[in-house]
């Protein structure tokens, strides 16, 4: 019987035991912090058909990294080759080891196979395995090579800025990077001594002198094992914890679990699923235009994970959601930031003014809510009134005289109680008025009514409403000759997924031209309510970047569907900036 043990396997075995012990301990601990609702959802769905999409997504994102490939093909290849290549090495190695006719198959056999097994033709197709194993090793090594290049010149993989890692992550990374070259060296030396290599290891092995190979064979395998062991021990404390966490997170997410207002165990899964790939850095306007480089999700989540989170980081965010849209792990970044912003102690506020506002009987009318921001852009509210009158729609302008905020700006700053108070009053007014549908011209209010209010009537953004009027033929438009670019407001586009309606309307009314980045990649107008820490000068810098993005094809006018974006651009320049309602009003064919 062959000897299948050598002391050098110990670092690997020990590392593996520690790795799994820590991971399982962490996973259980986080799971215990799930709140009631999350547990209920999980219990309901755990053995449902949802497991199929979960497995599929885990395969796609955990191993193939499709979403990263969408950002950049080479970057995607890099992540895929390391993740999928290593995964295949383990799987194929496992089969290779278990197909070998032996009395016992210790766990480390697959890892250190070429050290222990010297004979060829022990089983059918063993040469094929040798070939595949070499091919996979080459695949992984190519990924490590790109990672190394990325370290030196990140623009080659489409990243302007990469993550600045903490010391411990560097340590884990060096051990990870050492594993595969050491494996190549060890297998090559073994190939020299035992002639058991494949196309790659054998040809490299033949370069060495037999003396060198024999002398350093064990040393090399030992180092390989130590590298593995070190990486495994470092893994749960470093960013590489994402490898296992992401898979479990995908599973939970597919089961329907999501973030809540408070931080839960699920948040811990999300924090640990961040691979710190740094894709969010380049997507963040605060980095791009203001060179603020410590607030991006990658650092924000890291700080939270290591319990070093600060308000200065949590509050310094436009909440534009561009990182959220680009995140390859689909972590709910905005929700986590919201949790950190929520105020633990609520200031006392006086709501007595709310009592002065009386409900209005509006049976048979539609409700129109302009919102605070539409009051600062009367062009929008006047146009909506004109459109209602044109289609002979009776309406009730909820906040024409006395304005109550929808509550979302307060909520974004963490004043949950205050926001709830405003929602309560607004809900009461809406319910008592008996309106059939609520239309708002402000995407902030729209998102608020849609997601945070529990109203039984349909909520429509005015782009949806106008689109419906056009579809039913109640409103007809003529087409003008102006070249119009459409700016996707963050709250409407990334926030509510409305990209189609405004474009369809504009195609009927004018000539739509493209912006450089649009839809999910649209750039925040900068002057929003999300970030209270940057000053007006910084806001205008972001706004100017957003303007440049829109001017890409030299349009004649800018169109947006958000009063805040409109105001931001309008203040900047004499260039015509219009809301979609204004363009519709200008181009509607009067009866």
């Amino acid at each position: 019987m062959q000897n299948l043990f050598h002391p050098f396997v110990l670092p690997f075995v020990l590392g593996t035991i520690i790795l799994f012990a820590i991971c399982i301990w962490k996973f259980i601990r986080w799971f215990r912090h799930f709140d009631r609702l999350q547990r209920a959802i999980l219990r309901k769905n755990i053995f449902s058909w949802k497991i199929i999409p979960a497995l599929w997504e885990a395969f796609r994102e955990g191993l193939l990294h499709i979403r990263i490939s969408r950002q950049n093909l080479i970057l995607g290849y890099m992540h895929r080759s390391i993740a999928f290549g290593w995964f295949l090495l383990i799987v194929v190695g496992f089969f290779e080891a278990h197909l070998t006719p032996l009395n016992s198959h210790p766990v480390w056999l697959a890892i250190f196979y070429r050290f222990f097994i010297h004979e060829h033709h022990l089983f059918a197709s063993s040469e094929v395995f040798t070939f595949i194993m070499d091919l996979l090793l080459l695949y992984v090594l190519s990924g490590i090579f790109i990672a190394f290049c990325k370290k030196i010149y990140s623009k080659a993989v489409g990243m302007k800025k990469t993550t600045k890692h903490v010391l411990f992550d560097h340590f884990a990374k060096v051990s990870l990077w050492a594993i595969f070259p050491l494996r190549l060296l060890s297998e090559s030396l073994a190939a020299n001594v035992y002639q058991n290599g494949g196309f790659l290891t054998q040809s490299i092995g033949n370069f060495f002198s037999p003396w060198f190979a024999e002398t350093f064979l064990t040393t090399s395998w030992t180092m390989y094992s130590i590298a593995l062991g070190t990486f495994f021990v470092a893994l749960p404390f470093s960013r590489y914890m994402h490898i296992f966490t992401e898979i479990i997170l995908i599973y939970f997410r597919q089961m329907g679990v999501h973030e809540h207002l408070e931080r839960t165990g699920y948040t811990m899964y999300e924090l640990n699923a961040c691979s710190r790939c740094g894709i969010c850095i380049d997507n963040c306007p605060l980095n791009k235009d203001l060179n603020i480089t410590n607030v991006q999700p990658v650092y924000f989540l890291r700080d939270l994970r290591y319990k070093r989170g600060t308000d200065a980081v949590a509050d310094n965010c436009l909440l534009c959601g561009r990182c959220d849209a680009a995140c390859p792990v689909n972590i709910d970044l905005l929700a986590i930031r919201q949790q950190e912003r929520n105020k633990r102690e609520q200031d006392h506020c006086d709501y007595s003014y709310l009592n002065n506002i009386q409900p209005f009987n509006a049976i048979g009318r539609v409700g129109f809510f302009g919102g605070c921001m539409s009051h600062l852009t009367p062009g929008i509210t006047e146009s909506m009134k004109a459109i209602f009158e044109e289609v002979e729609q009776k309406y009730w302008f909820l906040d024409e005289e006395r304005t109550i905020c929808c509550g979302r700006p307060l909520m974004q700053q963490g004043y949950l109680e205050q926001a709830a108070e405003l929602r309560r009053k607004n809900s009461e007014l809406i319910k008592k008025s008996k309106i059939s549908v609520l239309i708002t011209s402000c995407p902030i209010c729209y998102q608020s009514f849609k997601n945070e209010y529990k109203l039984s009537i349909p909520i429509m953004h005015h782009t949806e409403y106008i689109m419906k009027l056009l579809e039913t033929g109640k409103l007809k438009l003529r087409k003008d000759d102006l070249r119009t670019v459409y700016h996707d407001p963050c709250e409407l586009g990334r926030g509510c997924g409305i990209y189609k309606e405004p474009r369809q309307i504009l195609k009927k009314a004018t000539h739509l031209v493209k912006a450089k980045h649009e839809k999910e990649e649209s750039i925040c107008c900068g002057i929003n309510l999300g970030d209270t820490l940057i000053d007006i000068r910084q806001q205008t810098q972001i706004r100017d970047a957003a303007m440049n993005n829109l001017m890409y094809k030299n349009p004649d006018q800018i169109c947006t569907a958000c009063p805040m974006c409109k105001r931001a651009f309008n203040h900047a320049t004499d260039f015509p900036v219009k809301d979609i309602a204004e363009i519709v009003r200008e181009n509607m064919i009067k009866k």
Binding site: P378, G379, E382, R537, T540, K566, R567, N570, H571, A572
Partner: protein, 339 residues
């Protein structure tokens, strides 16, 4: 005779041309529109002495009759190129004109009040700019949106100046006293109207301004409220409702007015912006930047190109004329035959 090109036939351009021409320079005065002094002719009366703008324009126009001045109207200069010792002025048709030195007097334009949509300019008929009101005063017809004589008129200072959001952090300097002047004129025309001026702080920097401000309060019963207006909206009867805060008593306030007058600030004119950009002599807010704040204030960063008047920064007409004189002297010192 040395040739000087002056760009812009406003008060600065005309004044400097006249002095240079009187001192044996051959002056070509370029003006992009079809008549000179259009900014002055928009006004009815000038602060602080209520003298007629037309009269001043006439006096200035008379200076153009000097024999060494050639006025070229409808000619927009977009670029200046230095070629050895001479300067080539390139016009919009890409023809070039030669000169030994150039004086830029391309002036200002009024801030486009549409940009501050929250005040409803162009949306509510009761909202006008100071320029619109000046026209009404000129024609002695002060009406509100529905053609009635307004019983309450509200002025709002600092529209498009001292405003970080529109990017104009500077003070336009003339609006404070202009509002006081216009308020007095309105009072003279409408003795029974209520007149309010909303301000951040009133900068009565010139001779006679402070006295005018005091007179406005004591003699003409004009009410000054410290506070900016946050938004304006229309009422059902065609008035304008404004929301503001009286920051001296710390009270939010809401009131209706028949006429809201926006004191729009000064911005560099399109010509100023174009030349500043093409010759790389533009500075902050796209005004032309001068070499020094004190003694080199008429020199630009490009040798042989001089600047005068509101192409540099907001100025009153008096300051503009003084600045044009100083620019002319500077050119004479640099180019004239030295004894």
């Amino acid at each position: 005779m040395k040739k000087i090109a002056v760009i812009g036939a406003g008060p600065a351009g005309i004044e400097a041309s006249y002095i240079l021409a009187s001192n044996n320079f051959e002056v070509t005065l370029f003006e992009k529109s079809s008549s000179p002094l259009s900014n002055i002719l928009d006004k009815a009366y000038l602060f602080p002495d209520f003298s007629s703008a037309t009269e001043l324009a006439d006096k200035l126009s008379a200076k153009l009759l000097q024999k060494n001045i050639q006025v070229v109207l409808d000619k927009e200069i977009v670029d200046i190129k230095k070629d050895g010792d001479i300067y080539k002025l390139i016009d919009k048709e890409e023809k070039s004109h030669i000169a030994d030195a150039v004086l830029i007097a391309t002036g200002y334009t009024i801030f486009d009040a549409h940009r501050k949509e929250e005040y409803g300019y162009g949306i509510y008929k009761g909202v006008v700019t100071s320029l619109d009101l000046e026209k009404m005063i000129r024609h002695k017809q002060i009406f509100n949106s529905i053609g009635d004589i307004p019983s309450r008129i509200t002025f709002l200072q600092c529209v498009g100046s001292r405003d970080e959001k529109s990017g104009n952090n500077y003070c336009s300097k003339v609006c404070c006293v202009t509002a006081v002047k216009q308020a007095i004129e309105v009072r003279k025309a409408l003795p029974d109207a209520e007149i309010y001026i909303f301000y951040m702080d009133l900068r009565m920097w010139g001779q006679g301004f402070e006295e005018l401000y005091r007179e406005a309060q004591e003699k003409y019963d004009i009410r000054f409220v410290r506070g900016r207006i946050s938004e304006a909206s229309a009422t059902f009867d065609g008035k304008v409702q404004i929301k503001s805060e009286d920051t001296l008593i710390g009270q939010p306030l809401k009131m209706n007015t028949d006429l809201l007058v926006l004191m729009a600030g000064m911005e560099p004119s399109q010509g100023t912006k174009t030349i500043g950009k093409n010759c790389h002599i533009g500075g902050e807010y796209q005004f032309i930047s001068s070499q020094g704040a004190h003694i080199q204030d008429n020199l630009t960063t490009m040798e042989g190109i001089y600047v005068a008047g509101t192409a540099k920064r907001p100025m009153s007409i008096r300051d503009t004329l003084t600045d044009a004189d100083s620019a002319a002297v500077q050119i004479m010192m640099d180019l004239g035959e030295k004894l």
